[in-house]
Symmetry: C6
Subunit: 79 residues, 6 copies
């Protein structure tokens, strides 16, 4: 893989569209968790826990919203 970054894909916050910016926000949020819990096995075990827990799903949504605020601003809201 030519992209050597571990935390920010392509090492950039700039995306062509809001949709791709939002996907980047989701991705960045996941990569932070990957850095804190590097074991893919453990992360897989945790997935059904948070994916079936309403409070955790809301908390994930909140985190993505914060990431997206930064990305949207970096892209001047794609105006």
């Amino acid at each position: 893989m030519s992209d050597q970054t571990k935390l920010i894909p392509n090492n950039s916050l700039i995306t062509p569209t809001p949709e791709e910016g939002r996907a980047l926000a989701v991705k960045i949020a996941r990569l932070t968790i990957k850095t804190t819990q590097p074991s893919a096995k453990v992360r897989e075990e945790l997935r059904p826990i948070y994916a079936n827990d309403a409070a955790m799903l809301i908390a994930i949504g909140h985190t993505v919203a914060v990431e997206f605020a930064t990305i949207a601003k970096a892209n001047n809201y794609w105006i």
Copy 2:
């Protein structure tokens, strides 16, 4: 459906009015949860849990507030 986006409806943060901007904030928040929990069946099962839990309703409101901050800024507060 012509709109192929999964995370940002119409692939834009721009709305004609604050009301529509707020509706977009609610929608975007829901789409993040849909991405994390793709099963419609599970999401339906979770609905009565969070819709009857005061703490979760507040947490949803908090998340929508964060999404709306971004959308409101993108629209220069509809001034």
Copy 3:
């Protein structure tokens, strides 16, 4: 009622004063919860739960603070 909006009263973030801006923040926060839990009966049942729970009152205050940040900025802080 002439105001047909469900999420943003008067479809505007602009208010004459900080006090009215704050009241709008409280109102908007409540309308998000109303959208998520449309049953007035359920919301009434939840009221004594959060109104007597210190942690939930703090969480409501936090949410209103986030809403107010957006409204205050929209009004250029009423300077």
Copy 4:
């Protein structure tokens, strides 16, 4: 009392100094809770609960931080 506001003392976010701005943030946070739980008796009963609970004290601090961000910006950081 000449100040008729219930949510924003003096109906203004402007303060002479950071210290007074911070005090305003604390005050505004409390007034939101007062609006949600109007009973002084209940609020008094809740006080020892949150004042002796580390997690709730942190949550209060978080909320005040968000209020202060708005007030500090309104005052251009008192520069």
Copy 5:
């Protein structure tokens, strides 16, 4: 002590460096808690509770991050 402030040390958000700005963020966060729980004895009793609890340590870090955002902006990021 010549500094009569209780919430903002030196009554200023301006610091010479990011390190000092961060220390100020930590300090301000603590002073909010001191205002809410004035008893030094109680605060001392709470210290081992939050200092040994992962979730509370994270919540403290979150609060400091919010305080720092304000201070960093006040200092124009020390650029």
Copy 6:
């Protein structure tokens, strides 16, 4: 070690790339926890607790997102 700072590595928020800015956000978040809980032994004991808890991993991600927002702005989003 020539870097005498304890809270902000290199005493600067400026980084060459988004990837390094994100790494700095992670680092700063950890240093706040180190300041609150100085014992390396206790922090090591807490690691498996939060690293195996979905809710705590999400909360860490949220905190890093807030730190990153500040760093990204300080770097003008590396545009």
